[in-house]
């Protein structure tokens, strides 16, 4: 049962990927992104840049958490301004701090939250939650309080809570920043195994190995865009000259 529906049924075209045209964003007078013209169709895309370079704002533009001040963002041909709900169903978002993303007291309840919002029937919901918890080694913790999980388990639960909704694309905002080496590797492996298109904002350059494309942000602009080796080299040069 749904309270509200979007007025017009959107016509999505998955082949179109994510398109940014003339995108800029400002918080008051402070411009954090400017002149972005990008077409993101590759399966694995990395985003690097110094702190404050606009990476996180860019990530939030991709699923309509932040709206562009200028220009447009389209996902599968859907404008994030006019079809934000449909866009959010298509683009999952994993936050840096899983504690902010986990909103229910126990593991299984939290994993089920997005499905409840989508109106998925209880039997199917239970099946999908059990499946995703099993996949990420959390099945034995289903009824445990979420805040008692380790940092790595919390991040896996945050990812599970997004994946259970079966989005076509997933944006990760610094998913390994708060994790130790073992859990960083585990999350890297999870990202590598995903079939969806992933956009990963990160400071962990090792995470970008095998990616199709890496964008380098500096002062709100894309200053390098290409395969990981070229982009990472450009990023290192940029940081050395700071």
């Amino acid at each position: 049962m749904r309270l509200r529906r979007e007025v017009t049924a959107p016509i999505a075209d998955p082949a179109r990927g994510i398109e940014l045209r003339g995108v800029g964003h400002a918080y008051g007078d402070r411009v954090v992104l400017a002149d972005l013209d990008l077409h993101l169709t590759e399966r694995r895309i990395g985003v690097v840049g110094a702190n404050g370079s606009g990476k996180s704002t860019f990530a939030r533009l991709l699923n309509g958490l932040v709206m562009p001040t200028t220009g447009t963002v389209h996902v599968d041909g859907l404008d994030t301004r006019t079809h934000v709900r449909e866009v959010r169903r298509r683009v999952g978002f994993v936050f840096q701090d899983p504690d902010a993303q986990i909103v229910h007291p126990t593991v299984a309840e939290d994993a089920a939250y997005g499905l409840e919002n989508q109106g998925v029937p209880p039997a199917e919901r239970a099946e999908r939650v059990a499946e995703v918890l099993q996949r990420y080694g959390l099945a034995g913790h289903a009824d445990h309080p979420a805040h008692l999980l380790s940092g790595g388990q919390k991040q896996l639960l945050a990812i599970a809570g997004v994946l259970v909704m079966r989005p076509a694309r997933i944006v990760f905002d610094e998913p390994t920043t708060l994790l130790d080496l073992v859990n960083t590797r585990r999350v890297a492996q999870v990202i590598e195994e995903l079939e969806q298109q992933v956009v990963v904002v990160t400071h962990d350059l090792d995470l970008l190995e095998g990616f199709d494309r890496v964008l380098v942000f500096d002062d709100g602009r894309v200053v390098a865009d290409g395969p990981p080796d070229r982009s990472v080299a450009a990023y290192r040069t940029l940081m050395v000259h700071r």
Partner: protein, 215 residues
Amino acid sequence: MTLALYVPRASPVHRTPAGWKLLVLAGLSVLVFAVPTLPVVSGALVAVLVVGLVVARLPGAVLLRQARAVLWVLVAIFVLHAVLTDVLTGTLTVLRLLALVLAAAVVTATTRVTEMVAVVERVCWPLRWVGVRPARIGLVIAMALRFIPLIAERADRIREAQAARGGSVHGLRGLTTTVVPLLVQVLQLAHTVSEALDARGAEDVPLRRGGTRAA
């Protein structure tokens, strides 16, 4: 610190719908106050223990923890009655409160938060006529249970950080040096949580969630 008291077991008590369990709890409360005799009250206490320990197969420690939490209140009530009225009234009052505390513990230990929340949403269902969305009320309760331990943990971290730098963590000064940074952190957390709710489809939230069991 944990507010999640659910103890998973495959028992008939766990399978009983949350609404029925709350109704029985309400009925028991009325019974022990309406018929304040020793056989009825002690019978209620024994019944609660049998249901909790034998039928629901809860660990004794779960009930003991709840009883211990109210121990001094019970002792104080008993002493007051022993002095002001009589020992029998004191015994009755203590047994009555103990039965109700343990009955509530059995209900919470055998019921998931989502099931409780679903009952709250059902009870709040008529409020939709004045524009209130029952699912939102349920979400608020679930989030309170989720975030109270987290905020307590963050307060502990701030106190540790203050202590590590030689600051006072006691008294009024300790309180202010903890509360201000905690407020800032909570506001930042609230902002990110609101983004996470949006990202997970909170705007799509149905009027009522319908089912309960997640996994």
